[in-house]
């Protein structure tokens, strides 16, 4: 059946994440029920079987994370989704995906924490956990949607990045965006760019699954394609087998770091609004970026020189993009639904050369446009 092109719909953020995953080619979902992310699992359970994909509700969050890694290893793009407590449980196997370099996407629809916290209320308390949640030095790519349309497109991008860089990618949504229903324009599938993992060109005898290439990203053979190799969470050499050789350890862990570090410009994505002519810069991400935009527009109408930097990726941290905007401004406002997790990074990036006003709300209520407007007008 041909659909009008493009399709305009009303859709919920969580559903848009699921639809984006399917558009990206995801055909396996493993998850565990948790508020406020369950609509992602429900949508995948509804859609995947008819597409000859597979949905499985696992016995726990840890198992769900293991299952998506296994599925990706045989060549099927795979997704799991969760919220705070489940995100904590997934950390062990997120680390495995990072060191074994298996592409997978994890959606964390943030709720209030710590622990069981506030299951039905929004927060942004997992900013640092999304970067450093699993132990050891490891790469991280984290995307932050602030609209239903971004849920859709950022989930597609998350799959593309995970395939391109052979790494787990996290979509850090929140309860507001996940449960928000608004208009979305979905392009025809032929208008969506899809990136697939690089396959080896060498014959199986000479295949090095963790080769230290110029791009830092080795080609990935799927299990069952004739390349019989070893995958382990132990630190390994370029053949994939465990090593205790300090030279090889350093070589592999440095490559793992450089894989993301040397590609910041390609990975980091920010949106600037009115940043050419401003004395005040608001830096925001996720649901808070919506409120920030509204308050900025109101202040602009009243003649205040306010700009907004919306962070579409928060990790790797957009240091260069922030510093660039700090040349001629008087203050930075960082509203967050946490105690200032990303504000600390911004203070570090700007070397505290510019006064930073943190606005933090941790009571389960959203940050409203009026909240930010009041800061813009009343705090100097």
């Amino acid at each position: 059946m041909s659909q009008p092109n493009p399709k305009i719909k009303m859709m919920q953020g969580n559903v848009a994440c699921a639809e984006g995953a399917i558009a990206a080619g995801c055909r396996f979902f493993a998850g565990y029920p948790i508020t406020p992310s369950s609509e992602i699992a429900e949508t995948m359970s509804l859609k995947l079987p008819a597409l000859d994909g597979n949905f499985i509700q696992m016995e726990d969050e840890i198992g769900a994370m293991g299952a998506v890694i296994g599925s990706s290893l045989v060549g099927v793009k795979s997704l799991t989704a969760t919220s705070g407590p489940g995100f904590s449980l997934k950390q062990e196997n997120i680390g495995f995906a990072a060191i074994a370099e298996i592409p997978v996407v994890i959606i964390n629809v943030q709720r209030g924490g710590p622990s069981t916290g506030l299951p039905t209320k929004p927060a942004q308390g997992d900013v640092m956990q999304s970067r450093w949640g699993t132990h050891g030095d490891h790469p991280a790519i984290v995307l932050c949607p602030s609209s239903v349309e971004e849920c859709y497109f950022m989930t597609i991008r998350a799959f593309n990045l995970s395939e391109e860089y052979r790494t787990p990618v996290i979509v850090l949504s929140d309860e507001i965006i996940g449960h928000l229903t608004e208009k979305i324009t979905i392009p025809h599938h032929s208008d969506i760019d899809i990136i697939n993992r690089l396959k080896p060109q060498s014959d199986p005898e000479n295949y090095l699954p963790y080769e230290n290439t110029e791009t830092y990203i080795p080609a990935m053979a799927n299990f069952g394609e004739g390349y019989r190799y070893h995958v382990t969470g132990l630190v390994h050499d370029e053949t994939g087998f465990p090593t205790n050789d300090s030279k090889k350890i350093e070589e592999q862990l440095t490559r793992l770091y450089n894989k993301i570090e040397k590609n910041h410009d390609k990975i980091i994505d920010v949106s600037e609004y009115f940043c050419d002519d401003m004395d005040t810069l608001i830096i925001a991400y996720g649901a808070v970026a919506r409120s920030a935009k509204q308050s900025m527009l109101k202040a602009r109408q009243e003649g205040h020189k306010v700009g907004l930097l919306k962070l579409n990726t928060i990790w790797p941290f957009p240091e260069k993009q922030i510093v660039k905007l700090c040349q001629n401004i008087k203050r930075i406002i960082v509203p967050e639904m946490n105690f200032g997790q990303l504000a600390h990074e911004i203070e570090w990036a700007t070397r505290r050369a510019i006064p930073i006003i943190k606005y933090n709300k941790i009571n389960g209520e959203p940050i409203t446009p009026l909240d930010i407007y009041n800061i813009l007008i009343n705090r100097k």
Partner: protein
């Protein structure tokens, strides 16, 4: 058969101690793969953490050494997304029934089409001999130096109760029976568990002299104290004290996960 067809020679010597039973179990697996003529490219051997979980590194299949206790969850993803892959998980008693206990009972409940070979040595060997969920009450380990206060799991009965298609127990001494049970498991659909009692002289025997201190003594103990399940059913509990019940615990023809999920797919496509 030539075992070297299946081993990664350059990864030898293996890490297993003198007298360990794990190599005997591995040979049973390889003999069965050879007998069934499976294509090495279509075999995934998956493990968690521990002595038995080092097995995948030594064999020339698609091999995956995962996190502690989680092998069955990775295997579930592999099997679902590539059903023609022969999916074998090797696990120890601690890996499968302590930290991985939840994945174990749920893989059995779903009757997921995976073969699980458990190398049960009643101890955490790799970390130096701490008591495990199958260390018998009163026995000694580095964390139970005054005798283990806990009751042990009966792995085979647990797998049977949780819904596995096929469950059997053998010992390292009874390698011919192990071959037979692994073959029955490999030929069968659904979740199939073969528990093999494997001596650990280094961490268990040394501290629990009743079962023998060194490998050959522990094998002799297995020989002398194993009771076939058919006979055990007629014996009193006190007669079965310190005995190893071996044999086929269950072999039933029930739908596996894929039979059910393929129906789901059919119904979804009609909508």
């Amino acid at each position: 058969m030539d075992y070297l067809n299946y081993l990664r020679k350059d990864k030898m010597p293996h890490i297993w101690c003198d007298g360990c039973g794990h190599g005997i179990v591995l040979k049973s697996i390889l003999r069965t793969v050879d007998k069934l003529g499976w294509d090495k490219n279509e075999i995934a051997l998956i493990s968690g953490i521990g002595c038995s979980s080092r097995t995948p590194g030594y064999v020339d299949f698609n091999t995956l050494h995962t996190t502690h206790g989680r092998a069955l969850s990775f295997a579930t993803g592999i099997k679902i997304s590539k059903p023609k892959m022969h999916t074998i998980v090797v696990s120890g008693d601690g890996d499968a029934t302590a930290i991985g206990g939840n994945h174990f009972i749920h893989a059995a409940r779903r009757n997921m089409d995976i073969n699980l070979i458990i190398f049960n040595n009643n101890i955490y060997g790799m970390t130096g001999g701490q008591c495990s969920p199958t260390t018998p009450t009163g026995k000694f380990a580095s964390t139970s130096q005054f005798g283990n206060p806990d009751s042990p799991f009966d792995i085979s009965r647990l797998a049977e109760a949780a819904g596995a298609s096929f469950v059997a127990r053998s010992t390292a001494y009874h390698f011919a029976k192990t071959d037979k049970y692994i073959e029955m498991a490999f030929r069968k659909k659904g979740f199939c568990v073969v528990e093999v009692l494997s001596p650990c002289p280094t961490a268990y025997g040394r501290r629990n002299k009743s079962t023998g201190k060194v490998g050959h003594e522990m094998l002799k103990d297995q020989k002398e104290n194993s009771v076939p399940i058919e006979r055990a059913r007629k014996m009193k509990p006190e007669e079965l004290k310190d005995k190893y019940i071996t044999g086929v615990f269950i072999d039933r023809d029930v739908p596996d996960y894929f039979e059910h999920y393929n129906e789901v797919k059919k119904r979804a496509k009609l909508k």
